[in-house]
Symmetry: C2
Subunit: 328 residues, 2 copies
Amino acid sequence: MAEQIRIAIAGHGNLGRGLEAAIAKNPDMSLVGIYSRRPPEQIKPQDAATPVYEIAALKDHTDAIDVLILCGGSKEDLPQQGPEYAALYNTVDSFDTHARIPDYFATVDEPAKANNRTALISAGWDPGMFSINRVIGEALLPDGATYTFWGDGLSQGHSDAVRRVPGVAGAVQYTRPVKEAVDQVRSGARPTLTTREKHKRECFVVLEEGADANKVREAIVTMPHYFDEYDTTVNFITAEELARDHHAMVHGGFVIRSGNTSPANTQVIEYALRLGSNPEFTSSVLVAYARAVYRLNKMGQYGAVTVFDVAPGLLSPKSAAELRAELL
Amino acid sequence: MAEQIRIAIAGHGNLGRGLEAAIAKNPDMSLVGIYSRRPPEQIKPQDAATPVYEIAALKDHTDAIDVLILCGGSKEDLPQQGPEYAALYNTVDSFDTHARIPDYFATVDEPAKANNRTALISAGWDPGMFSINRVIGEALLPDGATYTFWGDGLSQGHSDAVRRVPGVAGAVQYTRPVKEAVDQVRSGARPTLTTREKHKRECFVVLEEGADANKVREAIVTMPHYFDEYDTTVNFITAEELARDHHAMVHGGFVIRSGNTSPANTQVIEYALRLGSNPEFTSSVLVAYARAVYRLNKMGQYGAVTVFDVAPGLLSPKSAAELRAELL
Ligand SMILES: NC(=O)c1ccc[n+]([C@@H]2O[C@H](COP(=O)([O-])OP(=O)(O)OC[C@H]3O[C@@H](n4cnc5c(N)ncnc54)[C@H](OP(=O)(O)O)[C@@H]3O)[C@@H](O)[C@H]2O)c1
Ligand SMILES: NC(=O)c1ccc[n+]([C@@H]2O[C@H](COP(=O)([O-])OP(=O)(O)OC[C@H]3O[C@@H](n4cnc5c(N)ncnc54)[C@H](OP(=O)(O)O)[C@@H]3O)[C@@H](O)[C@H]2O)c1
């Protein structure tokens, strides 16, 4: 191995744990530390030999880390951690509040540029791999339309919303694409689809003792923003069933671009993900982009960047010549 | 429009004609000329206003063309035209003899570097978009396996081979993925598949008068290299049916990467193309890469490059800020 890229993890939630697994699959990388806002003794790394530090230690470890992967939440953590650590480290994060990306980019870009760091924001699958396919699809078929479908997948935010309904003891929510809409889009037609026509929602709910099932169902399906614009099915199950059948954080979806290159000829491009674990896949993406960030920084590309700025070859541990010979 | 990219086409076959349509769909580009080895009066451009030149004129037009797209055949034309024109122009081609790519890269790289030109080789869909997905799939899921399936699609080379069989008046050949193999791969299993298990071949043949159908069928299905390793079906049709039902150059296929991020969790990535016209889609890809080559050249990246060296954002007419705001 020519050089080991020294990776550190800031934040030990789902992504942080997924990163431990992902780094172990990449022989050109080593995990040099996990940093958390919680006391180190509360963090149990997968490999007991991995050092765990309080996050404050990051101000002193700049010589020991090539790329710091930020695993904080997009809502509260990254808006503060992103700019702070981009001043000290090359960073990668998975910031996914789509509407705030331009602002977030600017707040990370400035400290990164000022300190000759490279900070890649919003990697993962959406934003991330799906975004790349939206851009390439549009560039290849300018006379066309792009559709993003999500699911079948467990939605964290919607599951949380169901759990807050009075009478609910436990719950998960799955987002599912509507088959008729998908078939239409795949055919190369370019339908205009409403929110309700694209996705449906399915909940699996454990009731509290004595709760009224009909009241709970009504409260869920009429919930503004979360469910009122969708066709929602509510299934009542036992706590055992919830624990047994619904713990996997499955997700996925697809980006479809269809367009015409001439009046007679329709072309359809589809990028699909079927993820057994959303956070483990997202972490695998973050790791590949950490490799790219390491290289971009050595090439002198400082400041904030996104997946749109990264050539595919930079994601691979193989050399350009190997890639041309083996995979082109 | 800030600046128009001036594109020229060298070679007016299927791709050359597809390029005329593709350039017309991109308002930031203009087609400044078609260059052919045949006499200009034999070439009929889609837009009668498009200038047509003898290919020898290319030695004098270097100031009028930003990117020259080479549409010659990979076997005979590009090995000579690629290096020759990379000394004079920024170029894009679709060289698709996979085994010879490293050699071809080297022969184009030298004149391009010596003359501060950027020459992108082997764009299209395979090599091209499929190659990108092979590289990214492997980088995201290092513990996994990659499968490329082609079809349903009309294969030019195999159709030509059938037409050379004595007794055949006309023919087309379709390559089709074997459904059982595809389903297995999509499930996340990582099967080892033989050539026969992955694809089958289907021929539609018009017999010459008096030809023996059984002899023709036998000659086709046992043909070495082309058919003997596959399960091949031969259908006999009329000349009218051939003309009516089999003129579209449909093609496509998919690249599937499946892998594990942990023992419990399988992830599947699939990139699929369903192309109403293989040459028109390929030409659309070449045009998007012409935009990227134009920009790379302005950025000072000289020499031969491939799709692996091109960041997705460079393919789009939109600015980086627009892409972040609209598509990330
Ligand atoms: N782009 C994409 O495709 C994509 C996909 C998935 C997720 N994401 C983004 O990634 C972000 C992080 O996702 P996640 O699933 O890893 O979130 P998470 O599990 O809630 O973790 C977020 C942070 O919360 C803290 N935390 C975790 N477990 C805790 C506990 N038991 N008690 C107290 N604090 C705890 C951790 O920080 P400390 O260790 O510092 O306490 C961690 O970094 C999400 O906000 C989402 O925006 C993006
Ligand atoms: N990477 C990919 O995904 C991909 C996909 C499709 C094709 N390709 C590649 O693209 C190459 C070109 O494909 P194509 O379908 O455009 O090939 P084609 O139609 O056979 O054209 C090749 C060249 O032959 C000459 N030609 C065309 N029609 C002619 C005619 N009627 N009489 C005499 N000469 C004629 C043209 O040069 P002049 O005008 O100079 O005579 C033209 O540039 C193929 O070799 C293949 O390798 C790659």
